[in-house]
């Protein structure tokens, strides 16, 4: 972007600064000032604070030379801010901004307290290398210049490594070196340039969104109300056959003017502000033609009313503004709802916890802020309460509902020694929990961070849509100008109306409004099912997926051994063999031992049990020596070779042999068991027309068996990272879009090679997640849900774009040819806008399967005492 000449631009800004509203207040204050203090006007309220635009009441003591002129300020606060900005060489802020900044008179410095509180609340992440990270919510951000200023300023601060400010969410993400700066320093720095920074807290964001939606609701409803009234005033002119008396017509026109004025000045303000912002940034957004259309049609109508000649378009203007606002309001609400679904995960943490200070000596509990909990604390969790931190159960047993983390609404049993997660609900009886991680260190906080990071990125689709919208608007302005030129020669009486119609009829909403809305609604709908898109472009890739590759057998199986076959080799019955095996494996923690113990109850007690790592166990039961373990090892005790029957199935899975000193007794086949729902998930994926494949490092026979069980055609065992990579690349060369499903801790190359990677959250530590999409819990079926949802979302986006293409291709030429009145154009554009937004809103509606799930969760909540 070319830098504007500083001097001229700043002068312009100064002239433009008073908005219509502040111009009114300025005028009303000049009047009494001139009457009581004649001659004092020049040093009275003639000037406005250069920073915040508020009137400077008396000859100001606060002055500063800035941008080649002496500027007056209303208070020491604003002066200080301007001084800071000048000293930092960031003067360009004043030329780039679109409106006055916050007044500094009201801002108090609470940086130190706020920073200390944020530290305690775990809002600051400390990394191992001394780098700290925090999210800040900035108050007072109005425009792109504010974003630029605060970003550049933060980056200038000593110790700051990176700072980025998101305009939409008004949030800054700052990383700094903990040895050179503290959070309090940064907060004070932000205050110094006139904004207020709050370490991010979801509840405050709630307040912001509430203010936003209230303002838009007021604007929309008032515009709709004014629209009805103006329509009523306009009706007589439309329906009377022989015209109405001129003085009555004038009355109706003036009444319409009075009603349209607040609609244009107040209700349509977001459009004008957006258009100004776009022009400042040298780009064309969808607000530009809207503002141009509304502004010029209104101005022409006022001129016609004042001079008493010409047509008025008050009805078109109010209707256009009202219906457009309605579309925006619907979009805002849906977007906020989608955001809520994501933030709901974070909000489930309780604010306080009962800390047992002297546990275990005394059970005295202090109620403390959950943020102050530290590792090692003992906390008391009453029945029905939400657990405030990750920890291990010390006392008590209860069932715990971990729906927030896993999406599984059935409670799971927790006994002393079991781990519990922050955010889960303790259902039955009180627990005493030793805290292992609190605040930002909990898994829940980790997930929230992950999702927030994704929400701050703009997907490629949205960026492309924005760019195309810019070209579209540019083209539209050319068409409007051409229409105005041609018609003013050919038929001057209608030129104005036709130009308005062209400006108003075009509808870039499918690009600029409906596409972002569809994307965020999609993310929200997925988040409700515990499917979290982590990378911004993930959904787009997911919608195009043709091949799904499971990159581990562990994804499809439980990853736990279970006995799949017991084959007696001697005279002893199967059940007796199993009982012997269970007896031998008592007290052994090996997965194979656990599987054998689970298969039978030990009827006898084994003595002199020795476990030999990598081989098996040996022990004495009723005076007989037994060995249980690897075939070669067991064979070493016996003189006989393994019976032929056993070798036949050897390659299938893990084999364990049982033998007494007299001979072979049994052969146990152990295998992984399928995850619940794996069959169903595979069927669902195949139902979506996807090609499935398993690519695993496990032994070929195991993988083949699994593939046969599930009905997956393609399976490759013994795959090395390089061969996985090659396999995916080969698929992609044939035009396939590959999704990789795994636990997220696999070889980074093949995950990166896949177009989109999906990881299941229960398996891996959060820091290791490299996936694009994280699914909480273990339900494989969610992969199919995610793909179906992404396809649905992009189908809606495509529908909208096709509609927009067809509508604009028909409507704009019609309007340019003079076949549409401004009223018809406004109606057409508004309805098209509502249509695309409404179409996108379908994505936010929970579908039937989801609704039943939600209901189940609600009823499962304990009745609070």
């Amino acid at each position: 972007m070319a830098g504007p000449p500083v001097v001229d631009a700043s002068e312009r800004t100064l002239m433009r600064q008073p908005s219509p509203a502040s111009a009114l207040t300025a005028r009303s204050q000049i009047a009494p000032a001139t009457s009581s203090l004649p001659g004092a006007q020049s040093e009275g309220v003639a000037s406005h604070c250069y920073h915040c635009g508020e009137p400077v009441p008396t000859a100001s003591r606060w002055r500063l030379r800035l941008d080649h002129a002496e500027r007056a300020f209303c208070c020491a606060g604003c002066l200080g801010v301007a001084q800071t900005i000048r000293a930092a060489g960031l003067n360009a802020f004043y030329t780039r901004r679109t409106g006055p900044a916050e007044s500094q008179a009201r801002v108090a410095d609470g940086s130190v307290e706020a920073a200390a509180a944020a530290e305690l609340a775990g809002l600051v992440t400390h990394r191992d290398d001394g780098v700290c990270e925090a999210s800040l919510l900035l108050e007072g951000i109005h425009c792109a210049a504010c974003v630029w200023l605060s970003e550049s300023w933060l980056k200038q601060q000593p110790g700051v490594i990176d700072a980025s400010v998101n305009f939409v969410t008004r949030r800054a993400r700052v990383a700094w070196d903990g040895r050179h700066a503290t959070l309090a320093d940064l907060l004070r720095a932000v205050t110094a340039i006139g904004y207020v920074a709050h370490p991010y807290d979801p509840r405050r964001r709630e307040a912001l969104t509430r203010r936003e939606s209230r303002a838009l609701l007021t604007r929309t409803a008032l515009a709709l109300f004014a629209m009805m009234q103006v329509m009523m005033f306009a009706l007589p002119a439309y329906i009377s056959a022989d015209g109405i008396a001129p003085e009555q017509q004038a009355l109706l026109e003036w009444a319409s003017l009075v009603l349209t004025l607040p609609v244009v000045l107040y209700c349509a303000a977001p459009f004008f502000r957006g258009a100004l912002r776009d022009l400042r940034l040298h780009r064309l957004g969808m607000d530009v033609p809207v503002a141009l259309g509304v502004g010029s049609a209104f101005a022409a109508s006022v001129w016609a009313s004042v001079t008493g000649s010409g047509a008025v378009y008050y009805d078109s203007v109010t209707m256009f503004v009202a219906l457009l606002l309605l579309a925006r309001y619907a979009e805002l609400r849906a977007r906020q709802r989608a955001g809520d679904a994501i933030e709901a995960i974070a909000r489930d943490l309780p604010a306080t916890a009962e800390r047992l200070v002297q546990y275990p000596q005394s059970m005295r509990a202090d109620t403390v802020s959950a943020a102050t909990l530290a590792q090692g604390d003992a906390i008391h969790v009453p029945a029905g309460a939400v657990i405030a931190a990750d920890g291990v159960v010390l006392e008590g047993s209860s069932s715990v509902e971990e729906a927030v983390m896993t999406g599984e609404s059935l409670p799971v049993a927790r006994r002393p020694g079991n781990a519990v997660l922050a955010g889960s609900i303790n259902r039955d009886s009180p627990l005493i929990v030793r805290v292992t991680a609190a605040g930002a260190a909990t898994r829940l906080a980790g997930i929230v961070r992950l999702v927030e990071r994704a929400a701050e990125l703009r997907p490629r689709v949205a960026r492309t849509a924005d760019r195309i919208a810019g070209w579209f608007v540019a083209l539209l302005l050319v068409v409007a100008a051409a229409a105005a030129l041609v018609w003013s020669r050919y038929d001057p009486a209608h030129a104005l109306a036709i130009t308005f119609a062209v400006l108003v009829v075009s509808c870039p909403c499918a690009l600029s409004l409906a596409t972002p809305a569809a994307l965020s609604l999609m993310a929200g709908a997925l988040a409700r099912r515990q499917i979290l898109p982590v990378r911004a472009d993930a959904l787009e890739a997911l919608a195009r997926v043709t091949h799904v590759v499971f990159d581990k057998t562990g994804t499809l199986t439980k990853g736990k051994f279970a006995l799949s076959r017991a084959q007696p080799l001697g005279a002893m019955a199967e059940a007796d063999c199993l009982a012997l095996a269970a007896a031998l494996e008592q007290g052994n923690a090996h997965p194979i031992a656990r599987a054998l113990r689970a298969a039978a109850l030990p009827e006898k007690v084994a003595r002199n049990v020795v476990a030999i790592a990598g081989c098996g166990v040996e022990g004495v039961i009723d005076g007989t020596r037994y060995r249980l373990g690897r075939l070669e090892w067991v064979e070493a005790m016996l003189s006989q070779p393994l019976p032929a029957a056993a070798t036949a199935i050897e390659s299938e899975a893990t084999l364990v042999a049982l033998a007494s000193s007299r001979g072979w007794l049994a052969l146990f086949t152990l295998g992984d068991t399928l995850r619940p729902g794996a069959m169903h998930a595979v069927a669902a994926l195949q139902g979506l027309g996807l090609h499935l494949a398993i690519l695993s490092g496990d032994r070929e026979p195991t993988v083949q068996r699994l593939a046969r069980m599930l009905g997956i055609g393609e399976a490759h065992g013994g795959a090395l990272p390089e061969s996985k990579l090659a396999f995916i690349a080969a698929l992609q060369r044939q035009g396939a879009v590959v999704a990789m499903v795994g636990d997220g801790v696999n070889d980074a190359p093949s995950l990166a090679q896949a177009d989109v990677s999906i990881a299941f959250g229960e398996a891996a530590a959060l820091t290791q997640w490299t996936a694009d999409i994280v699914v909480l819990g273990a339900d494989l079926g969610r992969v199919a849900v995610a793909i179906a949802e992404a396809r649905r979302g992009f189908a809606v986006i495509r529908q909208n774009l096709w509609w927009a293409l067809a509508y604009n291709a028909i409507a704009i030429p019609l309007a340019a040819a003079g076949h549409l009145t401004p009223l018809a154009a406004a109606l057409g554009m508004s309805l098209s806008s509502l249509l695309v937004v409404g179409n996108a809103l379908r994505l936010g509606r929970p579908r039937s399967d989801e609704r039943s799930g939600t209901a189940a969760r609600v009823t499962a909540l304990p009745a609070s005492a």
Binding site: R210, L217, T218, A221, L222, A226, L251, L252, P262
Partner: protein, 49 residues
């Protein structure tokens, strides 16, 4: 039809009054949660403490 000269300005005054009232309703938070109250009435605990 002279009555129009009175009625139309009166309707304008009414419109502005209603608009102001609505603005106040929104500002006081009546429209923040349109679903909650419907549920709250069902979960109300009417039993005396």
């Amino acid at each position: 039809m002279d009555i129009l000269m009175l009625l139309i300005p009166m309707s304008l005054v009414l419109v502005f009054l209603i608009g102001a009232a609505f603005w106040w309703f929104v500002a006081s938070g009546q429209f923040d949660d349109l679903e909650g109250p419907a549920h709250r009435i069902l979960t109300d605990d009417d039993s005396p403490p």
